[in-house]
Symmetry: C2
Subunit: 157 residues, 2 copies
DNA sequence: TAGAACCCTGGAGTGCACTCCAAGCAAGCG
DNA sequence: CGCTTGCTTGGAGTGCACTCCAGGGTTCTA
């Protein structure tokens, strides 16, 4: 059996909870997107897409007969994952590491698994941090609201 | 009445949920910390503390008779808030803006209130984003776990 | 009172994640 | 055919948030 990143393609499993709508996908087999279409679909800039490729964060993208990039649905899936990981604050270098593991094939299975689990832990603690911050903000906002009411009743006198 | 940032000092209100222990505070009135003590208490570097001051993110810190910085409990409170805001991803420039509002006094009350409420909204949506990411990670981790079981049972055969 | 450890300043340097540029090829349209 | 728009490349530039340095003064401990 083969453990690759195909599970997110439209055939194998529903792409549950993929943030923004990001419909407008062409059916698999007819999935050839120019870079500007991917820009529209992902919100990234063309610069960034090319840069991702240069640093090894993207696999080598198909090219048209004249050398222009033609992205596939699978590439879009990968970009969606990268987008998710990016907003956890994961450094690009770590994502490149993960991409390398995927390229290297089956025998990196365990390492990928561990990396994902570690990332999951990181996300959980980030959420906890943010909830701590939320508590501080709420306390402060409550203070300002009280002060506001006091000022208002002062004015009313 | 005066709306300043005194509410977090030890006198006025319990400092609920201030992340790490950060005890080791001296009582108000005897609260004079050298920069290296603040480094130990906050985890920031001395460079960063001086830089915060230069860019206006800190009020002007008291100095000893020879010009060395002497931080107060209130300064530590402010740094704790800054730390919280920092890990929401708020840009330093925005925190400087907030610090300016505090320095400008009462008449910036409403603007500060709005800024805090906006920040609260930002934190909430960041948490939501992270939970979306968590769902993606869990799906992926589930996939890897299944693949792992499949591999294991293959080997068992 | 000597030496180590700490603190001061302005300004330069670093690492990250883009972001842009120039110069040139390619594709579609009137 | 000419024009506009889009895509290509390597390399340079940008903005942010630190991070460090040189060269000097200060404070603590033996």
């Amino acid at each position: 059996m083969t453990v690759t990143e195909t599970e997110t393609t439209t055939g194998t499993g529903a792409d549950t909870c993929a943030g923004p709508p990001q419909g407008d996908r062409r059916p698999d087999g007819a999935d050839k997107y120019t870079i500007s279409e991917v820009v529209a679909l992902t919100g990234l800039t063309a610069h960034t897409l090319r840069w991702y490729e240069r640093i090894g964060l993207m696999p080598h993208i198909d090219r048209s007969h004249t050398g222009q990039r033609r992205y596939s649905n699978r590439d879009l899936d990968w970009l969606a994952l990268v987008g998710k990981l990016r907003l956890t604050g994961m450094p690009v270098a770590d994502m490149v590491r993960y991409a390398e593991l995927v390229r290297e094939g089956d025998h990196t299975y365990t390492e990928r698994f561990e990396l994902l689990k570690q990332t999951r832990e990181d996300v959980l603690s980030r959420i906890a941090e943010l909830q701590g911050t939320l508590a501080v903000l709420d306390r402060k906002i409550g203070f300002y609201a009280d002060a506001g009411r006091a000022l208002a009743s002062e004015r009313a006198r």
